[in-house]
């Protein structure tokens, strides 16, 4: 009977799940992903977290609770840094401790550091430590690590090719994008943290809704690392949050692109880095772009009706603005 490892469907799951899964598969460890977000999962998370924490953290706690009684281990790496001299956010640094100190009767947490802050550090450190939980054979850990890196690259390439994280890999994800075959006449860039925009419950299915409104959706994850870093380099000081570097870079990139008609910036209430980058993006938009920008802040109290109203109004404005531009061009 092999051990089962639970992976919460939250935070950086959207970037690293294929890699983590491959790694555990190669070691013969069964993985269980928490269920898709529901009101119940979110409620549970809210109850076990301090009020001031941001929505993604509360949600992630909910997902941990969802896994708690079903698995032998919970995989909750402490994500310190995913790029040199950059961090994610202080809450990611303390997340395993927030979970451990607030929830009783947890299965053991696998909370080794994922830390690429220093020059020459590699993901292997993390995977070696994680692998040691299940095997003492360094060769098989290394092989699993190699395979996992390969699937990370495939995942990245897939995202760059325009697929969204929940569309790559697993078969059950393939039919999410039920193309209506209708005309998609505008392109909207959705800029936000992966755990906000790809979680169907939290984002209230925003991407699907935009498709239904006849829009093509592009996100920050379709840009290569070099592309978004080059764009983010326009800032007077390099941002030290990787995810926000990506968001700002993508926003700047899509502002310049003639085929993108509007941008939606999605932030969660109380998100520290977003409050900074949202401000920078907004100021940039006001100063040097004519593209419509919608700033959406979501939290556990966000109502669906309000969201729909704003999205519809935004879509109207995007089309209207473009129509005006077309008229202006013929004059």
């Amino acid at each position: 009977m092999s051990a089962t490892v639970g992976i919460p469907r939250a935070l950086l799951y959207y970037y690293y799940y294929p890699q983590w899964k491959t790694f555990f598969d190669h070691l013969g460890v069964k993985t269980v992903v928490s269920r898709e977000t529901t009101r119940a999962i979110l409620e549970k998370g809210i109850k076990s977290t301090v009020d001031e924490a941001c929505l993604p953290i509360k949600l992630a706690v909910g997902h941990v609770l969802d896994l708690k009684d079903r698995v032998d281990y919970i995989f909750l790496p402490r994500i310190v840094s995913t790029a040199r001299r950059e961090y994610i956010c202080p809450k990611f640094l303390g997340f395993p401790d927030m979970v451990r100190n607030n929830i009783n009767n947890l299965p053991p947490l696998i909370d080794n550091n994922m830390d690429l802050y220093r020059k020459g550090s590699s993901l292997y450190n993390l995977f070696y430590m994680v692998g040691r939980y299940f095997t003492h054979n360094p060769a098989s850990i290394y092989k699993a690590y190699k395979a996992s890196m390969e699937s990370l690259h495939v995942h990245c390439r897939d995202m760059e090719a325009g697929r969204l994280p929940f569309e790559t890999g697993g078969k059950d994800n393939q039919n999410y994008r039920t193309r209506d075959g209708g005309v998609h006449d505008v392109t909207i860039a959705v800029i936000g943290h992966p755990y906000n925009i790809y979680d169907r419950y939290i984002s209230m299915n925003m991407i699907k809704r935009l498709w239904d409104y006849g829009a093509d959706v592009v996100t920050a994850d379709q840009l290569t690392e070099t592309a978004f870093r080059r764009e983010a380099g326009k800032l007077p000081k390099q941002l030290f949050w990787t995810l926000n570097q990506r968001m700002v870079g993508a926003a700047f990139y899509y502002f310049e692109r003639p085929d993108v008609d509007g941008l939606i910036h999605v932030a969660s209430f109380g998100c520290g880095p977003d409050s900074m980058t949202g401000e920078l993006i907004e100021r940039y938009a006001r100063r040097s772009s004519r593209k419509p920008l919608l700033n959406l802040t979501i939290d556990e109290h966000t109502g669906e009706a309000g969201m729909i109203t704003r999205l519809e109004a935004f879509m109207d404005m995007v089309r209207w603005r473009r129509h005006l531009d077309d008229v202006a061009a013929t004059l």
Binding site: A53, P90, G94, M98, K237, A267, R283
Partner: protein, 365 residues
């Protein structure tokens, strides 16, 4: 060039001393007030924390007094403060202020970046003089901290209400007036004499509360609604986990001056509960709480500005520390909506609880 820097408690005293020693013209903005905060809130991002809003207000008020260069500390994450200077600068520029920005922070590529900035501010002073200036500022910070510590001791024990505050004000004036390093020891002596002259009732039983949390809200009385004085008035002896001179010693001098209280011990104590630094003072908050519990304090109050990320991590860990070590902990979150009456009510309730706890503890023993 007229230099302005943001307020943080009594920090202005030591920075002013340092810059004026180096012949730099300084504009000290008016003390943070409701007006400062209103200015900041109006133009700052909604979810930025209170320090950013107050800084912004400071700069706007200083611009009216003729300041044209901002000198600010920076940082390299993960706390947001590292990016504040640039966001504030962008906001000010859009509002039409023409400020030059100099951010002092750990250099990204080469130490020359930092040295160049210092040269830029100080003009063509010799490095020797620059170092002397920094030392002068540091010694002033030490002096101010010492006076503050004395006031924490005196306030709950004073026999005439308000005597400590008056003594502290005149003692600080003594320190502020010093313009040459060699005059500082005498002035400090004088100032300490003033503090010692406060008549005290040393037998009076007092409660002891440790203040932990985010550095700005701890040091800036306007942002924490003067919590130290309020607690003092309720008969509580306060100890702060962070003092400016300790912070300078640790972060700017890399612990050059030994045997000075610092956060190293606190960080070691925190490891059991929080396994990694989370930026800001999150780790110190947890560790200091452990230390206060071990030193037999009656309670701990955590202060943080709304949406402060490192402190939220600490906040969610403190309940466990509190139950395991049996020390009551209260978290106070401040922002532009904070009201004085609400704070006083909570403080009174907390102090009552601690007093009662102490009493029953004695009876049981």
């Amino acid at each position: 060039m007229k230099v302005v820097y943001p307020h943080m408690g009594h920090m202005w005293i030591c920075v002013k001393a340092m810059l004026e020693y180096l012949d730099v013209e300084v504009v000290v903005p008016p003390p943070s007030s409701k007006k400062t905060l209103l200015l900041g809130v109006k133009h700052a991002p909604e979810f930025a924390c209170m320090p950013l809003k107050l800084n912004l207000g400071n700069f706007m008020e200083a611009a009216e007094m003729g300041a044209d260069t901002i000198v600010m500390a920076g940082g390299c994450g993960p706390c947001r403060f590292g990016y504040y200077a640039h966001v504030e600068h962008a906001i000010l520029r859009d509002l039409g202020y023409r400020y030059q920005l100099v951010v002092l922070e750990p250099p990204q590529k080469h130490i020359g970046e930092l040295l160049g900035k210092i040269k830029h501010i100080t003009g063509h002073q010799s490095w020797r003089r620059v170092i002397n200036g920094i030392r002068f500022g540091y010694h002033k910070a030490e002096a101010v901290d010492q006076l503050e510590k004395m006031s924490h001791y005196c306030r709950p024990r004073e026999t005439r209400a308000g005597a400590t505050d008056r003594a502290l004000q005149s003692a600080l004036r003594e320190i502020i007036a010093v313009d040459r390093p060699e005059k500082l020891p005498a002035a400090l002596n004088n100032a300490m004499g003033m503090m010692n002259a406060v008549s005290l009732d040393k037998q009076r039983p007092v409660l002891r509360i440790g203040l932990v949390g985010e550095i700005y809200t701890l040091l800036e009385p306007f942002s924490n609604l003067d919590i130290e004085r309020k607690l003092g008035g309720m008969g509580v002896e306060v100890d702060r986990s962070i003092y400016l001179s300790e912070w300078i010693n640790e972060h700017l001098f890399m612990g050059l001056k030994k045997n000075k209280g610092g956060s190293k011990l606190a960080k070691q104590k925190a490891i059991k509960y929080l396994g990694h630094s989370v930026g800001g003072h999150g780790l110190e908050t947890v560790g200091s709480t452990v230390l206060y519990a071990e030193r037999g304090y009656d309670g701990v109050i955590q202060l943080l500005p709304f949406t402060c990320m490192p402190e939220i991590v600490a906040q969610s860990i403190l309940p466990r520390v509190s139950t395991e070590l049996g020390i009551p902990v209260m978290t106070l979150i401040v922002d532009e909506q904070s009201g004085e009456a609400g704070l006083v009510t909570r403080l009174e309730a907390f102090v009552d609880l601690l007093a009662r706890r102490k009493q029953t503890g004695k009876v049981l023993a």
